[in-house]
Symmetry: C2
Subunit: 299 residues, 2 copies
């Protein structure tokens, strides 16, 4: 797994070889703010799935996740309730400098868990910024975990989160305004334009007490059945593959571009010219791109 | 400003034309988790700077920021204390689907505020994931805002945050373990390898009460003086330009690639082949890249 995280040709050859075995696992993305209780929910859900005899994989891409053990370097650690269970494999990855690095690495680790026989894989991500938009491309079901704070109303929800959730969890449901929050959320989701006919479910839970988690598991299975019925599984697979190819292509394209000696030299010249006000970064970018596209590369 | 956010050629022509006027403003990045009090701090700092007669720009790229007004669509809104003051311009941008989109858009909006005479620009970002790694490339001073929770110790800090901060704020300093947390942070920062000789400052604040904010402002000025003395301003400008050119190039490169009819057609074929297990996404990516690099484009 560490080898996959390091990336490079070796990792790629392995992933390439594993590819025919990838595709059996059902992938569930769990996204939401730090402290929303994502890890506790995954912990509970894992136990339910283990009781059914499923093999469970967990990949946490939230560097602040308890799965990361609060350590400066994310690595494989134990998770309270399900630790020591050979049927659960947990991997926590620290975030990386580049976005595609992070994202594709998580997906690739999921491929490994998939190829080695996981039945279900939970991907935990922090739902802030852009990540949540991308998670929909690499999982079958997206769970958005929300915690109503006192005074919060549903209007304050980010539109991005509304659009990606297949299942919404209102966690810490014992808080004061939680049930009104869940009702408002249901009302708002009814207005949402659903592209595939699925009406998102809202489940109230208390992850710490374990309340509502069985219902959440049923909601996950409902969404899976829906996808099965409507041809959504093949559609998802198509979008996974498209996403994966795009990621690889874009990473390579960047490597080809910036790894080129001519571009590197030219870049330094152009930065100097921009520093002197002789060129804008826009002009500089145009010149570099023209050189690249005209095949000056290698000169 | 909306036109810049929309992007495209029109936006670019404007930014290109503004470029010679860009570079006067001092840019300060304020990063930290949601709820850490970044907006309150910016509010307080803005008032201090206004009292000194400076023109202040604020760009919030945190979609959950109070500057976003809790609305589903981020847009310009009022900020309690400094609203109605003509010397303060606030812009909140919602996060976008693509990372470069988000980041470059914030930087470009900062360029506009810069060209139109802002003396100081605060960029508020959420410090989770990758963003914090990038913020260092587009601001002069990076402020990391931390809030010690009961039981938190400094070991749980993400290494990424430790590396980017020029100034650290321990906000909500009236909390129980805040002063020990600040002391531990200072001790840890002393061990940090500093590439340019700057030793990061730690300031304790209570943004809501306004305590410690004058001291924070002095810390910001100290870092600025340090950069001035050590040639760091020109170095920063160089890195801004490098970063900007890279962003533009990578965006264009992606557009050129995916906007090509041959690639689009070939992509669909290759996805079909991957669905059938005839090719892996890695092979597919290689084929697309080879076609692009060999100039099949336009066929």
């Amino acid at each position: 797994m560490s080898m996959i995280e390091r990336g490079g040709e070796e990792a790629e050859n392995v992933l390439d070889a594993l590819f025919p075995k990838v595709g059996r696992a059902y992938r569930i993305g769990i996204t939401g703010l730090t402290g929303a209780g994502k890890s506790s929910l995954i912990n509970r859900l894992s136990r339910i799935r283990r009781d059914k005899g499923e093999r469970v994989g967990v990949i946490a891409v939230d560097p602040t996740s308890p799965f990361s053990g609060g350590a400066l370097l994310g690595d494989r650690i134990r998770m309270g309730e399900v630790s020591g269970d050979e049927g659960v494999f947990i991997r926590s990855i620290a975030s990386r400098g580049s976005d595609s690095g992070l994202s594709s690495c998580a997906d690739e680790l999921a491929d490994v868990l998939d190829a080695f026989g996981s039945d279900v894989i939970f991907l935990e991500t922090v739902g802030i910024g852009q990540q949540e938009y991308r998670i929909g491309f690499s999982v079958h079901t997206t769970v958005v975990v929300l915690v109503p704070e006192a005074g919060d109303d549903i209007q304050s929800l980010k539109s991005g989160l509304m659009e990606i959730g297949d299942v919404f969890v209102v966690n810490k449901a014992d808080r004061e305004n939680a049930s009104r929050y869940a009702d408002d959320l249901r009302a708002m989701l009814k207005l949402r334009h659903s592209s595939n006919g699925w009406c998102p479910l809202v489940v109230s839970t208390s992850a710490v007490k374990g309340e509502g988690v069985e219902e959440l598991d049923r909601a996950l299975l409902d969404h899976r059945s829906f996808l099965d019925r409507e041809g959504g599984i093949a559609e998802k697979k198509r979008s996974f593959i498209r996403n994966r190819i795009s990621m690889i292509v874009e990473e390579r394209l960047r490597e080809n571009f910036w790894g080129n000696a001519y571009i590197e030299r030219k870049m330094d010249e152009l930065i100097d010219e921009s520093m002197n006000g002789k060129r804008s970064p826009y002009e500089a970018a145009k010149i570099l791109l023209a050189a690249f596209m005209d095949g000056k590369i290698g000169e």
